[in-house]
């Protein structure tokens, strides 16, 4: 009961933040009502998906300070589980999604147990490696279509199919992922005030201090990594039903892992709104840059240059991202 109350309690934010958040929420709820292009709709769905990936990443990467660059592998596990279960045994999304999350969490324990013996850069590099290995395995695994991937054929189902999450119009997908988005915010709002949330922030500060306060540092990291994994895997399952065509390259590639971490870091690692702000900036940038520049004169890949620039700026100027700047200004005003 206390957990639910805590999740719904945003009273420690200043009124300005809550007003802005309310306006954004209202806009998100009403967006499909306004006239919009299908491209804008697709961008909005991507924004919501990546916000959720970022929120998941933010638990271990932001609050816990463990830079994880391998989140895409869990996206892949979620997406493949849902697709395989649907194609082979006609198991609907609402069943396959939790199964996928369980598999992903199981995999995250196997990965996390040895990896969290590593610190700092070594941990980050190891997460990249495990993710790439999994991608390579999927590329040669015939059962899941190897490098060609798998396709959910929409003509087999009668849309709108709410059980299997097969829709013709994007607006259905939009509201489904928006529901997850709001639930994700409530979860993180609970998480950041929970015992585990506090313990993680202490771990980020100083692991020895955390241990001396009774925190089992290794286990706390593994648990949080599993939470982050569940987030990513659930959205991965959604991704499969939404895109309907998955292959290792566009579910498990390094680009995705980096983009997830980057958004959270740009917006503000270790803050509730950070990943959303980051996704709100980078996803439209990415979509529209691709649209405008990608087609012309060999400028494809300019978005990667942009990411690199953002990484350098954030890590040099303000490691806590945009939210860190806001926070600093506020503290200065108060004192």
């Amino acid at each position: 009961m206390e957990a639910v109350k805590s999740a719904l309690n945003f009273s420690d934010f200043p009124r300005l933040d809550l007003s802005i958040a309310g306006l954004v929420a209202a806009f998100l709820l009403l967006f499909p009502v306004f006239p919009h292009s299908s491209f804008a709709m697709a961008t909005m769905i991507q924004f919501l998906m990546f916000s959720l990936y970022g929120m998941g990443w933010n638990t271990i990467g932001g609050y816990g300070g463990q830079v994880d660059l391998g989140k895409a592998q869990y996206l892949g596990i979620g997406a493949y589980t849902t697709t395989v279960l649907l194609i082979r045994w006609d198991i609907p999304f609402w069943v396959s999604m939790p199964i996928g999350a369980c598999l992903a969490v199981l995999w995250s324990f196997i990965i996390g147990y040895p990896l969290f013996r590593l610190k700092g850069h070594y941990f980050a590099i190891a997460t990249i490696a495990t993710s790439l290995v999994l991608k390579d395995l999927f590329e040669v695994w015939e059962f899941v279509g190897a490098a060609r991937g798998l396709e959910i054929s929409p003509i087999k189902y009668i849309p709108p199919d709410f059980l299997r999450l097969i829709f013709k119009e994007d607006v259905y997908y939009y509201y489904v992922i928006l529901g997850f988005f709001f639930l994700g915010i409530l979860y993180i709002n609970w998480f950041r005030k929970s015992r585990l949330g506090f313990q993680l922030r202490c771990i980020k500060d100083n692991e020895h201090v955390a241990q001396s306060l009774g925190v089992n540092v290794h286990w706390a990291k593994i648990k949080t990594y599993a939470i982050a994994t569940a987030f990513v895997s659930i959205v991965g399952s959604f991704h499969a039903c939404y895109i309907k065509n998955i292959e290792p390259e566009d579910t498990m590639s390094l680009d995705i892992s980096i983009l997830i971490a980057l958004m959270a870091m740009l917006g503000g690692a270790g803050s509730l709104w950070g990943p959303i702000i980051g996704a709100g900036i980078l996803i439209p940038c990415k979509s529209y840059l691709k649209e405008w520049l990608g087609g012309t004169a060999g400028l494809a890949g300019i978005d990667l240059v942009l990411y690199a620039l953002v990484i350098m700026l954030v890590s040099a100027k303000e490691p806590r991202g945009i939210w860190g700047i806001v926070d600093r200004i506020r503290r200065r005003k108060r004192s």
């Binding site: 206390e2 805590s6 300070g65 005030k193 929970s194 015992r195 506090f198 313990q199 922030r201 202490c202 980020k204 500060d205 100083n206 020895h208 201090v209 955390a210 241990q211 001396s212 306060l213 009774g214 925190v215 089992n216 540092v217 270790g270 503290r331 108060r334 004192s335």
Partner: protein, 248 residues
């Protein structure tokens, strides 16, 4: 029964012997000082007792239980808390949140942890800075925050590692008052490493002296101050001359 018993504790860092067969015990309710020159192995001893370093040989018995091979977090959960000499705060947690982490050892509920933290903050005169970031506080306040955080876990024994280091005389008075409050009013047994002799000699019931990892003396403060071995190794002739009146 002794609350803490350390038997023949030895700690080697490769070729360097940091603690050499250290043996001592302390009773519940005692206030024990640990002094010695820099590099004598005082902090290493704390690290070994609190489980941060694995010991090379020897035993640590806490409250009747052998805790020698337990991990640091397990030791802490049994009621042995500590502070750190050098605390590098990255600046993420404010004072109240810091203290709450300690309180979370005994409760899952955030509201209960916060209530307990507020209690401790007013106990240790930190209420007025409860929203400040720890990293932005002066050293004296940081030390008191560390004490409050450690106390959040309701420890039976508190190890304080140089809580008065680098403080000015009035700040030392504050810290001394805080230590006495913790010991007398909260009933916590305290062991402290300290270089500030005014503090350690005034508050300790008993003092242990380490030199090059070896325990060279143990006794009441008055006797320690006159012990020729201790004077030679650590206190120096000047300290004895300056404090002659008090010591007689």
């Amino acid at each position: 029964m002794a609350l803490l018993e350390v038997k023949n504790l030895t700690k080697d860092f490769d070729a360097l012997r940091a603690n050499d067969h250290v043996t001592f015990s302390m009773e519940k309710g005692e206030l024990l000082g640990l002094i010695g020159p820099n590099g004598a192995g005082k902090t290493t001893l704390f690290n070994c007792i609190s489980g941060l370093h694995p010991v090379t040989s020897g035993e640590v018995i806490f409250d009747g239980e052998d805790i020698t091979s337990l991990k640091a977090f397990d030791v802490a959960r049994r009621g042995l808390a500590r502070t750190f000499q050098v605390y590098v705060a990255s600046g993420d947690l404010d004072v109240r949140e810091n203290v709450m982490v300690g309180c979370f050892m005994r409760t899952r509920s955030p509201s209960r942890a916060m209530a307990r933290a507020d209690e401790l903050l007013s106990d240790l005169n930190l209420k007025n800075i409860s929203d400040a970031l720890v990293s932005e506080l002066p050293a004296a306040a940081q030390k008191r925050v560390q004490m409050a955080t450690a106390l959040g876990s309701n420890p039976k024994l508190l190890l304080l590692d140089e809580v008065a280091g680098g403080l000015n005389p009035s700040e030392i008075e504050d810290v001394m008052a805080a230590i006495r409050h913790v010991h007398e009013n909260l009933g916590v047994t305290v062991m402290l490493i300290e270089h500030v002799m005014e503090l350690v000699m005034k508050v300790s019931h008993r003092v242990i002296v380490l030199d090059s990892g070896v325990k060279i003396a143990e006794g009441v403060p008055e006797a320690i101050a006159k012990d020729p071995k201790v004077i030679k190794a650590y206190l120096g002739e000047r300290y004895v001359r300056e404090h002659e009146q008090e010591l007689v």
